[in-house]
């Protein structure tokens, strides 16, 4: 077996193992802790009989291992259980919202990824001169500011004072793509600002790292033109670090989405999760937590797979 295939198989197996362990962690996190689901649904004034009935109905009297495997096999078959508060099927609810969240994250990624790479290159090109310093300064500021702060500042000045864009991003299936894009313009702008800073900073570091290596210096000393150096030497070696940067930031976007959806009252997964955490609807929280974790682990996995595939040392084994 070639080393690439072996490494890939190992990495994918590790990702699956990680996901399995995370599912245990999420499940254990919600049963081992000293809270009681039945108590939180019925409140402090519930009678002991009512509590006992609810516990039996929810299967809380089964041993934890049985409950975990019942839950896991359900999840594997696409059955995420029913929400405690509304009695609705969680998979159907999530199905509608997951698409909305991905729509938002997709457009944020489409705008921020090329922009971040371009600005990162610009910062490298004008290293230690004013464009680089300006970019670093803005980056430092935006890394220190939570997502919802950027969001409200934008809503206040852009949507309310200037009347461009809308502050509540409601979308539904009957809207045209243009209307949808107009509705999500502000949340996409905020998400772009949030990930742009990280992505640019990391792209800059990744490219600088490549440009300062010995083989680039050798190529320069050989008298190759700048273009050839970039095409033959710098670019192939930059793919892996840049893809890594992009994937890490898309993973970061997954978390940013949670807060942004709440700010803009956007009908996505993040808002669904936050709503049900305050309602203490554990099955919904477990399902959403697992999906967010799966996306996060998946993106990290893709980053590693790309860096394995683009590593020439692995493609041409001695």
């Amino acid at each position: 077996m070639s080393p690439v295939v072996k490494l890939l198989a190992q990495r994918i197996a590790l990702g699956l193992l990680l996901l399995f362990l995370v599912s245990i962690l999420i499940f254990v996190g919600t049963i081992i802790l000293p809270g009681d689901v039945a108590q939180s649904i019925l409140g402090q004034s519930a009678t002991p009989e009512a509590l006992a009935n609810l516990r039996r109905d929810l299967g809380l009297n089964d041993p934890p291992v049985t409950r975990y495997f019942n839950w896991l096999f359900g999840v594997l078959q696409g059955d995420l259980g029913t929400a405690l508060t509304s009695g609705q099927d969680i998979a159907t609810q999530i199905g509608a919202r997951l698409g909305n969240t991905l729509f938002l994250a997709f457009w944020a990624a489409v705008i921020s990824v090329p922009l971040a790479i371009f600005l990162g290159l610009l910062a490298v090109r004008y290293r230690d001169r004013w464009p680089d310093k300006l970019i670093s300064g803005v980056t430092l500021a935006s890394i220190s500011v939570p997502e919802f702060v950027i969001a409200y500042v934008l809503i206040f000045f852009v949507a309310v004072k200037l009347r461009w864009g809308v502050s509540v991003a409601t979308i539904n299936d009957s809207m045209s793509l243009g209307d949808k894009l107009y509705a999500i313009a502000l949340p996409v702008a905020v998400l772009t600002l949030v990930v742009l800073a990280h992505m640019m900073r990391m792209t800059r570091a990744a490219i600088l790292n490549v440009m300062q290596s010995a083989y680039i210096e050798t190529a320069e000393l050989k008298g190759l033109t700048m273009f050839t150096i970039i095409r033959r030497h710098a670019f192939p070696n930059s793919i892996a670090p840049i893809v890594n940067v992009v994937m890490l930031n898309l993973a970061y976007l997954v978390v940013g989405v949670v807060v942004i959806e709440v700010v803009f009252v956007y009908p996505g997964m993040g808002q669904y999760l936050v709503d049900h955490v305050s309602k203490r609807d554990v099955p919904v929280v477990q399902a959403c937590g697992l999906i967010f974790a799966a996306v996060y682990i998946g993106l990290n996995l893709v980053a590693d797979v790309v860096s394995i595939l683009t590593n020439p040392r692995l493609r041409h084994p001695k």
Partner: protein, 272 residues
């Protein structure tokens, strides 16, 4: 020693915020949850410097008390995160073997999901109180401190003076607290500022989502949430706490950046 201007500005604001937090009851013109006006979101005036909030309370007083809550929780969580993370990290480095394996793999697992998501899962079953918040945030974040502390300690553990201490027959406690800790302190302290910022942002985000500090207690994230409805009417009350969070985070960042540069250049100067 010359302190760069950026770091000076950072130090000034950081000190200002901490002093305001400590002396909040003496500085705030009104009580934390005291309804002082019948007008909600009244504009700023001589009586109420930043105007009133969504229930007619003095916004400046809420901001001052809110800063106290936010800074207190962030500081406590940072301390918890550092003690747990560095003790376990040093232990893993010194003892090695299965202790190191178990701790490190468990940390890998915790870090494979975003802290916010894990915090939300845990908070869906735990009562949301200040001690619970501090413990949840501190323990989740200690994973990052653990990794740093372990990496630093692994390097120090092979130094000659540690070998000498081991040959002298010193116990693990001595090695950890008398040999490794003093030498690992400077990189850890530089990291502390960054962890503190992360805690401020973390607790503010949780409170903003309604899953952190509960009203009527004030904290900056919660203040943004309470006053957010005013934004669409062009009332900027929610922007003051939002800007306070940003200013504190940027100031601490400027100081941490400077400390980080100083410690790394110090290392370089020693030839290490």
């Amino acid at each position: 020693m010359r302190i760069p201007l950026a770091a000076l500005i950072g130090l000034f604001f950081t000190a200002l915020f901490f002093l305001t937090a400590i002396f909040a009851p003496w500085i705030a013109p009104y009580g934390m949850a005291e309804v002082v006006s019948r007008d909600i979101w009244a504009p700023s005036s001589a009586e109420f410097l930043l105007g009133t909030d969504n229930l007619g309370r003095d916004l400046l007083s809420r901001m001052i008390y809110g800063g106290r809550t936010t800074i207190f929780i962030a500081t406590a969580a940072t301390i918890l995160s550092f003690t747990t993370g560095s003790v376990l990290g040093f232990l893993a480095a010194v003892v090695g073997g299965w202790v190191d394996q178990v701790l490190s793999r468990f940390v890998d697992l915790l870090m494979s999901i975003p802290s916010l998501i894990f915090a939300l899962v845990v908070l869906s079953v735990m009562p949301v109180t200040v001690p619970v918040l501090i413990v949840v945030m501190g323990l989740l974040d200690s994973t990052r401190v653990y990794r740093l502390a372990r990496a630093v300690a692994v390097d120090i553990n092979v130094m000659d003076y540690v070998e000498a201490a081991k040959l002298r027959g010193e116990g693990r406690g001595w090695i950890i607290f008398r040999e490794i800790l003093p030498n690992a302190l400077s990189p850890l302290v530089a990291e502390m500022g960054l962890r503190f910022i992360f805690m401020v942002l973390f607790v503010s985000t949780l409170s903003f989502l309604g899953l952190g500090v509960q009203p009527p207690m004030a904290d900056w994230g919660g203040l943004v949430k309470e006053n957010a409805d005013g934004i669409v009417y062009g009332i900027g009350a929610a922007l003051y706490p939002a800007i306070a969070i940003a200013t504190l985070a940027i100031s601490v960042n400027l100081v941490a950046d400077w400390v980080l540069n100083r410690t790394t250049s110090l290392k370089g100067g020693r030839g290490g």
